[in-house]
Symmetry: C2
Subunit: 340 residues, 2 copies
């Protein structure tokens, strides 16, 4: 596929113009707005080639060209020029966390900031429990047969669960349980706790064995299986921008997908270190999101990753700008987390 430099320039110009105007772009308009140094006729020939190769297409026979998913892909991989953040954006990112008091607060502010800056739907995963360690486990007696189990992770996440004990326990019993549980699990990676939790049952004083057994079950559920991940979402109203042009008219499938935690996790949860992922249109595995693009990356203190964040928007989005913003926000959140 012989795509010389000029053809790539043409593709880049098409993508940029289409993203900006939201209208199919023709050869004439193209030479007018960009310094391509050739005539419309030449551009037309290039366009014909680009179309043959599947990078652009014509909505109707007599209309301008529109990038295909494949075209966007090439653009993102090879053509987009890095777009530096505006000072205003930089300032916003630096200020958004002033006064954040806890993890919840940080996550909420982050997701709102992302939505606002990119003008798209923003998604932020809470620090994954799978990647956290236990900082402390607290057992609070609610009644003689009920405990509140509170788990505090090193990432700042806090999970609670009610534990319904099989029989009454005394305050001293609770102290014993608390001490044992913390001794064995404190500081451990959550992913590695299952065998330790099992072992706990054998180590406890015989009288407490039934209580510890249920406690162990709940621990397993809380730490490993259930709600393992949490997610914050913002900016859904941005989907309704752009008239009804994007998303061929109906937001419904997209809104539906966004209500499923599992789907959101798939979108932004599968992150690799130091990577920023862009999934364009059809590259998305979720059928309801074939008309959207997702830009996501991991974040965490220093070089480690504790969770993912990203944005979702129409395939015709400002990739360079969005990528820059997502990257900057992720880095900044990481810094903030590192300070804890």
């Amino acid at each position: 596929m012989g795509l010389d430099d000029r053809k790539l320039d043409v593709l880049r110009a098409i993508v940029e113009d289409y993203v900006a105007t939201q209208e199919p772009v023709g050869s004439k308009a193209l030479v007018e707005r960009h310094q391509l140094g050739v005539s419309p006729a030449t551009v037309r020939n290039d366009m014909a080639v680009l179309e043959e190769e599947g990078y652009i297409r014509q909505p109707h026979t007599s209309a301008g060209r529109v990038p295909t998913d494949r075209g966007y892909r090439l653009f993102v991989d090879r053509l987009s020029r890095v777009k530096p953040l505006t000072p205003a954006e930089r300032r916003a990112i630096e200020r958004f966390l002033v006064g954040a008091v806890d993890l919840d607060d940080v996550v909420h502010r982050t997701v709102r900031l992302l939505a606002q800056l990119t003008r798209q739907v923003a998604v932020v995963q809470y620090p994954s429990l799978a990647r956290s360690s236990v900082r402390h486990l607290e057992l609070v007696p609610i009644s003689t047969t009920r405990l509140m189990l509170v788990m505090i992770a090193d990432t700042g996440r806090v999970e609670q669960r009610l534990v319904e004990l099989p029989g009454p326990v005394s305050a001293d019993d609770v102290t014993d349980l608390r001490r044992l549980v913390n001794e064995r699990l404190g500081g451990q990676k959550l992913a590695e706790t299952p065998p330790l939790v099992q072992a706990l049952i054998d180590e406890v004083a015989p009288g407490l064995s039934p209580a510890m057994t249920t406690l162990a079950t709940v621990l397993m559920e809380t730490l490993v299986e259930r709600h393992e991940e949490r997610i914050a979402l913002a900016g859904t109203a941005n989907l309704a921008r752009g008239g009804l042009l994007d998303f061929q008219g109906s937001l419904r499938p997209i809104l539906e997908a966004l209500e499923e935690e599992v789907i959101l996790l798939k979108l932004i949860g599968e992150v690799e270190p130091n990577t920023l992922q862009v999934r364009i249109g059809d590259e998305n595995e979720i059928d309801n999101l074939r008309a959207t693009s997702v830009v996501s990356t991991g974040y965490g203190p220093g070089a480690t990753i504790v969770g993912g964040l990203g944005v979702l928007g129409p395939t015709r989005m400002d990739y360079p700008g969005t990528i820059a913003t997502v990257r900057a926000v992720a880095r900044y959140v990481g810094d903030v987390l590192a300070q804890n």
Copy 2:
């Protein structure tokens, strides 16, 4: 305004038909589908009166009639016949909480259930802290100068906050603080804690005074001022049902409003005992929601109310059905909470 029984029947028929078909209803179709016992001409005369009184209107000169907000209001107040839940609905409501493990779980399941049954946007407020009492306050040392404050309310709500102390404290100090705080605040209504928190500062051992002062500040913020309320939302995808007919085309203002917690609270948070509120179209104070109706009510164990829940949809919604569902779900959630 002489609205005799037949005119009211006509209004009721118009509302029912319009809600069902989503199309302006004419005199002929009306007499065909309902046993009104009179001719179309008569119905037309009645319609003219209803229109004069502002209960219905014509989208265009030569079209059928559509209820106005005022018409819906009259319908809801005086005309709607109670619609019993279907067995399937009843079953769904009874089963939705099987296996719910904690408050978070209950709230999430509730909001999803509501959205599914009513096919509308559902909103559930977590039990209001303002209406809760302190069950227990836990202080967990994170480092020598940092504590995690965990507040467990009698309604099951759990709030955490990080406390940055002005200087280091020992484990014993923390124990002292914990005991004192629980002694003074345990069992108290949150709304009544402010003076008690102030008093704490004077009661503590002089050496702990600075620590207690910051702790008190955080307590005040956590218990009374900040995040006082939390809210769960589901079913936004339902807004995109009904083509683009409802909401004159753009979901944007509505989605925007739904992202503001403050607004959601206004919608469902202002509840009075034993009342179910229906706010129709223009009756909503929020400008972005003038095209929607909100059905909301309070819920809580027994006769008390700890929070609100409700649904939001197009003004042309099935009021009797929605009202029945909202009421039933609220009652059921109350029962579940009462079991704790």
